[in-house]
Symmetry: C2
Amino acid sequence: MNTTNVRRLLFGEPFPTSREAHERLDKIRGLAIFASDPISSNAYATEAIMTVLVVLGAGALKITVPVALAVAALILLVVFSYIQTIFHYPHGGGSYSVAMDNLGRWPALVAGAALLTDYILTVSVSVSAGVRAVTSAFPELTEYKVLMALAAILLITWINMRGIRESGSVFAIPTYAFVAGVFIVIIIGLVRYTGLFGLAPLEPLPYDPAPIPSISSLLMLWILLRAFAGGCTALTGIEAISNGVGAFKRPESRNAAATMVAMGVIAMTLFLGISFLATYIGLVPNEKDSILSQLTRYVTGEGPIYFWVQAFTALILFLAANTGFQDFPRLSSFLARDGFLPRWLQNRGDRLVFSYGILMLASLASLMVLIFRADEIAMLPLYALGVMLAFTLSQSGMVVLMGKVKKLAPDETLDTGITTLHYERHVNLKRAINVVGAIVTGIVFLILVATKFVEGAWVVALIIPLMVFMFDRINKHYKDVANALTTRGLSDRDLRTVSEVVIVPIGDVHKGTLHALQYAKRLSNDVRAVCVVTSPDMHELIMRRWNRFPELTSGVKLNLIDYDFRDILEPLVDYIGDVHDNECPGQLITVVIPEFIAETWPAQWLHNQTADILRNRLRHLPDVVLIDVPFHIAHAVKSQ
Amino acid sequence: MNTTNVRRLLFGEPFPTSREAHERLDKIRGLAIFASDPISSNAYATEAIMTVLVVLGAGALKITVPVALAVAALILLVVFSYIQTIFHYPHGGGSYSVAMDNLGRWPALVAGAALLTDYILTVSVSVSAGVRAVTSAFPELTEYKVLMALAAILLITWINMRGIRESGSVFAIPTYAFVAGVFIVIIIGLVRYTGLFGLAPLEPLPYDPAPIPSISSLLMLWILLRAFAGGCTALTGIEAISNGVGAFKRPESRNAAATMVAMGVIAMTLFLGISFLATYIGLVPNEKDSILSQLTRYVTGEGPIYFWVQAFTALILFLAANTGFQDFPRLSSFLARDGFLPRWLQNRGDRLVFSYGILMLASLASLMVLIFRADEIAMLPLYALGVMLAFTLSQSGMVVLMGKVKKLAPDETLDTGITTLHYERHVNLKRAINVVGAIVTGIVFLILVATKFVEGAWVVALIIPLMVFMFDRINKHYKDVANALTTRGLSDRDLRTVSEVVIVPIGDVHKGTLHALQYAKRLSNDVRAVCVVTSPDMHELIMRRWNRFPELTSGVKLNLIDYDFRDILEPLVDYIGDVHDNECPGQLITVVIPEFIAETWPAQWLHNQTADILRNRLRHLPDVVLIDVPFHIAHAVKSQ
């Protein structure tokens, strides 16, 4: 079974390139793929707010609802703003593309670095949170949590390597099951709250009515900002759809926008519903029992609905990781296309997915899981910063874009290079929304940096500039290569001249080396066999064997180099360098390497790897053309 | 800093081959290098006997002395027998060589496999025992014992890579310090036993004089045999010197024999002294406090001598591992020389040591440490079997050899191929010793197999035949190669004919590929450029660029292959195979590969590895000559 068969067994038959459009997503699968991240954050977003407020006492928890409303307003603002982006960039308009098109190279690279960092964290945080949901239920598994997280990443990687539509189908069920479960809890809760339909009315829990301690308004503001920052985890993953417009069926923009709206409405509704009911009942955050679990149990009892919600919470958290697997490979392929990341990141694999991007993400996320021992709480301060920075840059870009649209007369169009702008109505209103969006998300970004800096955000603040620097270096390399390869004004004389010298390093005189000499003699009249000998006995032996084949060796000069060390490649490389520098400087010289080829790797392993090592050393000399004349052992044995 | 510099910094400047004789060992260093294994076994050999006997009650421990005498007699027998081997095989006569020379191929391979297995265990057992000595003193280090054992292997590997004389110097001190320490303990013990010189007389400990339980004589025999088998661990490593005769200064045989006698006398004296005193005092084996430690404390008190002996016990156990590093690489180089292991195992490295053998041993011993979690007790049942099997084969070989010597007249000589035999006196006596040796070690081998089989010896019983099978397969491969390469009766017509077809796979039309085409045009008038195109746009683009260089591309046929999958190498390899099979079957065809070379590996990593992958695929076709025409990016950029 060769590697091709193994690959096909694991990942399925290759798809033809022309099938690409058929692999696209409809809205149902698209929502499941792109929304599992923002929707799953309802498993912890309300709790993130309450955990901050509870330091002021249980009485302060009622502030949860206004903070949640502020977060919900932010979600709405971002969604609305992104819908404009989706329609203006039908080929995919993540923050990177928008910033590149409107703000220029550096802001675009910052947005790209911020998002790539965040996508890696999406995977490691979601998988770790999913593992925690499992180990909460089965504490005896706690010691295996790193292993479980890595296994989950491996499983998600495998599913994604099989291709986008299949992964959509797999992921649809848990996402919709989670949404349905939480909706039922909220509806029952609200019905019991109103006291209608004869259900038992929902009574608030008794609580200690201690007043909120009187603290300075500056400290109060700090706590409110931290609570708000906590709630902002609900926004991670929202921008995914704008990047992935191209993954939708036609008409891409319309399908993507509809999915975005559905996602925003669902995420916001769940978030507000949970926040309102939890505050009304008076639930208190508790490390061992999540707010969502407490709420479900209080509203529906510990019955089938409770277990449904708990099970699908764990599942959707694993699947939220999948959002990263959609976004990271796509964004890195954009950066690769523009020459800021290795070009091969834009190659699609056999199943039309960006295989290298998937594998790179899987490796980096696994590394994060290992470094943080699958502890998502420790990773959270690094998270959400990147997304908010990308929002800010994207919205600012849209402000500039709308400025261009504003100047268009009816029937006039403008090609920006990656999209085409038309005359639009209500431009001023739309632009105002983007201005507000840019300012608000910019402020939120600063809040996140300030409140999370010492807890770990500094790491991200360090990594993003480093990545931007790396992007720039890579770009410079590709520009150098393009300049080196350019054929502009090229003529025959610009190409290198080839010297007549052909050097054949040999280790012995046998059928394999004679074979190579025969090939070399076809190329030139100046063939030189070179052999490094390490003892007088060997010197004599080689000479004797050489003289036995006067016909085959005629016209070939034999150079024997006596050498008293064991690294025989050193004098060989020196000899080749000397010939080049002294006899034909600046010209190409040809080295013919006789090489054994055994058919199996265990057999190959039985031979000195001298030919391989020599080839690798000679590759660093600029003017050497290498010719491998193979001698296939199995073939030679069979033909006798 | 390139790899050569790193290597020199780590392992020192290379030695010239002619220095080999200067790197040889004198007797002082030779004893330290070869004897640390058998001498260090005094740290546990007596205890191994007592641990078995104590199941019959403390009273049975007095049987230790007769069992120890039997083991000592066996040591004497083996040493005496090996001295004959050393003089008859002055170029190194381990069991493998002796068996090969006298018994034939299969017994020799069995001996080789048995010894290689045992040498690996020497390293893993000794290092683990040394770590136990350290963790006994510092129990808080217990959780790092696997890591410590691996670090010790790494350190010993490094010292051995630097060369044989240096490692002799490093290892001399602890070996002699251990021997001196234990000798002092035994001398003080014996002086106090005799009551002379006014020292306090040595009183036996009071003990429970319960009689030895009456058990069946069969069971008693079994227990005695197990006790004897335990004591036989004292014999491991004795054969090392006979293998390493060639490592001694001239006269090799005489120096090696003298060292062997010194080693045997020291090992036997220490072993009998410890066994006698421990039995006289009435010490009882105790898991937490070794017999040697108890004895030293009882005889000399917990003073400086006690700590000296304890410290050097730990050190010599680490160093006993070094014996394996002398033996394994040397024996595997013999097997490689005879074509039973990969040939490169006989290559000496820069510092004249068998670098590959050292690295292979280090890897295998580390693997054992990992599998057994550095628990030497668990490894012991696998140990000592191999040595005893090798003894038996070696002695049997000597019996055959002495039979040949017996037939020689005075002044007559006989060349066996690896040694020269002369007329000798007392041949019958010498031969009788070998006969007794062969029978006794054969019986001991059977005892070891029987008493240790279920505890793990079955693993070795399985591995040795597997290794012999592997040796045989490797030998067959090398014979095939030799037949394939033979130049016997070779003439011009036997070499392959070379077809005119030259194929140049290209990915684009740029300076690099035009460069390669120009080289190809020098070789032949039938040059074909092949390009796999994955879209109609690309098809058109390549055609347009191609037509821009009529002068450079004249005479070259361009084949564009339209392909709807992403694995573009598949149609390329198919095309090359088709051309070969249909147009020039049985002839060599030439493929010219244009290849980017970036100067640094991060830069190389930015490019598709297409050229490398294509080369690896084409290597499996039997009739393809590969030409790499390099295009050095840095060079091209600079020269502009």
